[in-house]
Symmetry: C2
Subunit: 357 residues, 2 copies
C-alpha cells in the first residue's frame, strides 16, 4: 500500500511537472508551437492576396461581376505564383501581383481609385521585405500608375521609408518613373460616386461606399508572399476613402499599421477602417503576438479581427502568411475579396463569409 501511494504520488508529480515544463518551453520559444505535429508541414513557397473587405454578400453581385472579380483575383495571384515558382523573390511577387489589381478598375487602387473631396486621386502604398526589415511607402500620389512600384523604389533607392505628396512624385520623376495625367485613374463610376457621397456626407458610412460593388467596402489591395529562399514580403496599395479631405493618411502606407513583414514571424497586409488599424498598430501586432505570445498565424489574426479590433470599433480584414507557408485570411465584415495559393498550385478564391466560394 505504501509503495502504491509512493508511485501514485511520484507519477502525479511527474505528470504535473512535465505539464509545467511544457508551458515554460512554449513561453520561451516564439516558434515552438509551429513545430507541433498538428501544424501543416513547411512549404517552399506560398502567396495570398486581398482586394478589400466590406459588405460583400452572396446574391448582391451579378454573375458577370462576380466572375470578373474572381478572374482578376486569379490573374493577380497566379502572376505572383509563377514568379515564385520560377525562383523570383517575395518582393517581386508582391509587386507584380499588386500591379494586376492596381491596373484593374474593379479595385480601389491605381486605375479606378476612389476620389477625394476635390475629385482628385490620392493613392498610398507600402512594401516591407521580411528578410532585412527594409520598407518603403508613399502617401498621396496622384500621377504614378503603380504606387507599389514607387514604394519599392523608396525602399531600394532612397534613404527614407516614407515619402508624401508632390515630394514623393518628385522622387519618382528623378527615378525615371513615368507620370500619367489624373484622367488615367479617374473613372466615371468613381466620379459619380464621390459626387453622390458629397451630397450625403453627413452619413458616415457613405465614405466607404464602393460603386463597383454597389455596397460599403473598405477598399485596398494587398499581397503577402513567401519565396523559395524562405523570405517573406508584404505590400498594400489603396486609393483611400471616398471623399477624403485634409490630406488624410490611412493605415495602408504606414509600416506596422497596414503592412508588416519579418522573416522571423509573418507577412501581413490589412484592409479596413484605417484609423482603427493605425490605433491598433495591427500589422506589427500580428508579428508581436506570434513572436512574444507564441500565437499561431490564425490565432493571431483571430485575436485581432474578432477581439481587439471590434473592442476598439474597427472593421476590416487581414491576410497573413507565416514563414512555414501557413496562411490566415480573416475579416469581421460580411466578406473579403481574397485568394491563396500553395506551392503545389492549389488555388482558393473566395469573396463571402465561408471559405472556398
Amino acid at each position: 500500500m505504501k509503495t502504491l501511494f509512493f508511485y501514485t504520488c511520484l507519477l502525479g508529480m511527474l505528470l504535473i511537472f512535465s505539464g509545467c515544463r511544457q508551458e515554460q518551453n512554449t513561453a520561451e520559444n516564439p516558434q515552438s508551437n509551429q513545430t507541433e505535429p498538428q501544424q501543416p508541414k513547411q512549404q517552399k513557397f506560398a502567396i495570398a492576396i486581398h482586394g478589400g473587405a466590406g459588405d460583400i454578400q452572396r446574391g448582391q453581385l451579378s454573375d458577370s461581376l462576380e466572375n470578373a472579380y474572381k478572374a482578376k483575383l486569379k490573374e493577380a495571384i497566379t502572376t505572383g505564383y509563377r514568379l515564385l515558382k520560377n525562383g523570383g523573390t517575395a518582393v517581386e511577387a508582391v509587386q507584380k501581383t499588386i500591379n494586376v489589381m492596381e491596373n484593374s478598375p474593379l479595385f480601389n487602387a491605381g486605375k479606378g481609385a476612389v476620389l477625394t473631396h476635390n475629385e482628385h486621386v490620392s493613392m498610398d502604398a507600402s512594401i516591407m521585405d521580411g528578410r532585412n526589415l527594409n520598407a518603403g511607402a508613399v502617401a498621396g500620389v496622384s500621377h504614378i500608375k503603380n504606387p507599389i512600384d514607387l514604394a519599392i523604389a523608396v525602399m531600394k533607392k532612397s534613404k527614407h521609408v516614407m515619402l508624401a505628396d508632390v515630394g514623393a512624385e518628385q522622387f519618382a520623376m528623378e527615378q525615371g518613373f513615368d507620370t500619367l495625367p489624373e484622367s488615367y485613374f479617374i473613372t466615371q463610376r468613381q466620379l459619380d460616386n464621390v459626387r453622390r457621397v458629397k451630397k450625403f456626407e453627413s452619413n458616415k458610412s457613405a465614405v466607404f461606399y464602393d460603386p463597383v460593388l454597389g455596397a460599403e467596402k473598405l477598399g485596398t489591395v494587398g499581397c503577402v508572399a513567401l519565396d523559395k529562399n524562405g523570405n517573406l514580403a508584404a505590400g498594400t496599395s489603396t486609393g483611400g476613402m471616398v471623399n477624403k479631405r485634409y490630406g488624410r493618411i490611412g493605415d495602408s502606407p504606414i509600416i506596422g499599421a497596414g503592412t508588416y513583414a519579418n522573416n522571423k514571424t509573418v507577412a501581413v497586409s490589412c484592409t479596413g477602417w484605417g484609423e482603427y488599424y493605425i490605433r491598433g498598430v495591427v500589422a506589427y501586432d500580428m508579428s508581436a503576438l506570434m513572436q512574444y505570445k507564441v500565437l499561431s498565424v490564425s490565432e493571431a489574426t483571430h485575436k485581432i479581427i474578432h477581439e481587439k479590433q471590434p473592442k476598439l470599433g474597427g472593421t476590416g480584414g487581414i491576410i497573413a502568411l507565416d514563414h512555414y507557408g501557413n496562411v490566415s485570411l480573416d475579416f469581421n465584415t460580411p466578406g473579403m475579396f481574397r485568394a491563396k495559393m500553395d506551392q503545389n498550385g492549389n488555388l482558393e478564391i473566395a469573396m463571402y463569409e465561408k471559405k472556398g466560394e
Copy 2:
C-alpha cells in the same frame, strides 16, 4: 509511514503545482511583474520629457548654453507637473509641456525647427491618449505655431488620425487655428545650417547636424505623462531632418513608431533616426514587450535601445512611463536632453551619458 509518504508527496505536488500556476499567472498578466516588492510602489502622477538625442558630450557646450538648455527643460517639465498636480489630464500636461519646447529655438520643433532642402519648415507631431487609444498626428505643416496642438485637434475634432501638408493646414484653419508666416519659425542659425549641409550633402551624417548644439543631433521633443486618474499620454513634435526632401515623413507623426500610449502598459515618445524607428515599430514594440513578454519598462527600453535598434542600425533614445509611474529614459547616443519629475516634485534633469548631471 504510509501517512508520512502521502503527506510528503501531497506537499511536493502542491509546491510544484503552485510554482507552475505562478509561471502561468506571470505569463497571462502583463503587469504582474510590476507588483513585485522590488518595484517602486505606485505613484499618483509623473512626467518625463526629452529634447532630442545625439552627440551631446560633456565640455562641448558653453556654460551659458548648457544652462539655457537646463532652464528650458525645467520650465517645460514643471509646466506639465503643475498641471498634473492641479488635476489636469495627461494629454493637457503633454501638450503644454511640449508647447514650451516648441516655442524655444533651442529645440528642433516649432520655432527654430530645422529647414528642408528648399529652406522651408516642415513640422510633424503626434499625440496618443492611453485611456482610449485615441490618437492624432500631423505631417509636413509649415504655418502652425504649435504642431502638437493641431495633432490634438485632429484627435479630438476629426474622424481621422493622420493629416498631412496643406490638407492638415486647411483643417487647422477650419478649426480656428492662427497661421503664422514661415519667418516666425526660420532662424538665421537654421538657415545657415541648411545651406552648410547642402554644400556637403554627400556626407550622410550632416543631415542630423544641430547648429545650436554644434554637433550631430537627432532632433525631436517629446513628453510622456501619467495623471492622477491613472491615464497615460504621449506626444512628440519635430522639424524632422535638416535638408530633407521629397516630403519625407519620419517616425514622429507615426502612431506606433514615434509615439504610443496605452493605460494597460506604457506611454512612449521616441527621438532618433526616424527610418529605423519606423522599421522597428519602436513605440508600440515597447508596449508589446511589456504586455506580451512581461518586461518592465526599463527592461523593454533596454532591449530596444541596446539590442534591437543597434542590430538594425538605428541610433537614438526613448522616454517611457508605465502606469505605476516608473520612468525609463534610455538612449544609445552619447547623450539625450531629458528630465523626469515624480509626484513629490523630485526633478532630475540630464544631458550626458550618466544620470543626474
